[in-house]
Symmetry: C2
Subunit: 194 residues, 2 copies
Amino acid sequence: MGNKGEALRQRVIAAAGELFYQQGYENTSFRDIASAVGISRGNFYYHFKSKDDILHAVIDTRIAGIKATLAEWDKKFTDPGQRLHHYVDILLHNQDNITSYGCPVGSLCTELAKYDHSILTDANKMFVVFRDWLVAQLKLIGVNNNTHRIAMHLISRVQGIAMVTNAFDDKLFLQQEVKQLKQWLDDEILKPSH
Amino acid sequence: MGNKGEALRQRVIAAAGELFYQQGYENTSFRDIASAVGISRGNFYYHFKSKDDILHAVIDTRIAGIKATLAEWDKKFTDPGQRLHHYVDILLHNQDNITSYGCPVGSLCTELAKYDHSILTDANKMFVVFRDWLVAQLKLIGVNNNTHRIAMHLISRVQGIAMVTNAFDDKLFLQQEVKQLKQWLDDEILKPSH
DNA sequence: GTCTATATCGAGATAGAC
DNA sequence: GTCTATCTCGATATAGAC
């Protein structure tokens, strides 16, 4: 198997993914990616058939990365409640990037929704992986009703925080909201007295 | 005063604003706007000096529109609690557009954050108008602490709902979340028993 | 004021040498 | 596999006729 070519392909995907996140997909050119990776523009077309093709590869790689991360969490934390807290804590761990560029999943979906519905469907799968995992954790806790809705609600809360943090360039807001959301998680989901 | 030119200018701003919302700013060309308004491409530069200039005009017009809307609400609803509910209800009233294109303010800020910080600052003023109005309503209710944070929290919740509704193309989610958010508004802000 | 014609640039994509 | 050179297209923007 072409190890050298395969390695380059991975480097392109990594660089493109980062640039798509920081600058947006449409706003990132082959030039940008080429100079980041250190190759020529023409060389792309040996590994990818179009720019869309690179985006698809980026999305696939991200999905694999998300699945790997969640599997790691499953090992690291035995308590599903702890895992849910860890999900919210992503905001805190990535607060600098979120302040500058927003959420990598959310901002990409927002961009794609403006002009390409077929790729949006693919990008949305990143959310679906998170959602299904959240549903699984809720069921493990013993929540039996509305697990899907609660998972979607959590994603929505996290996305709102990321979006507003980015738009207002306000890291403090993120920190306060994370605290509040984790409190809500404890009060309404993990220790329901009603 | 050049009435004919001024009227055309307003038509351009209206058409551009709609297209920027539906297709994104970068993804909308002069061609698109020209054919929507029914003028030639060259004619733009008599009324605007650049594409950025059109965007600034769109933002200014939107800000004026938001202020007018809020002033209308102030007249229509005497109860500040009712006004806060009405703010959340924007989601419901615009559910079709939000499902297709997201929030006009939020998605624009998300796009601009990727490549132009100076215009983002301007676009963000749309949020600030809402935020300041929300703070005013909270104070009228008698809330004295954390009015700024609560206002930001409300914006964040609304943005999260709009973003996820758009990304999942899920109008039902929007409807459920609006219900839940209005319930939260009643329980935690309007009738605090604690 | 509005138009047509054009300049200039950078994008994605291709051809073919090495 | 990777490169250089080039094609084609559509974008913003400008010049100048009407």
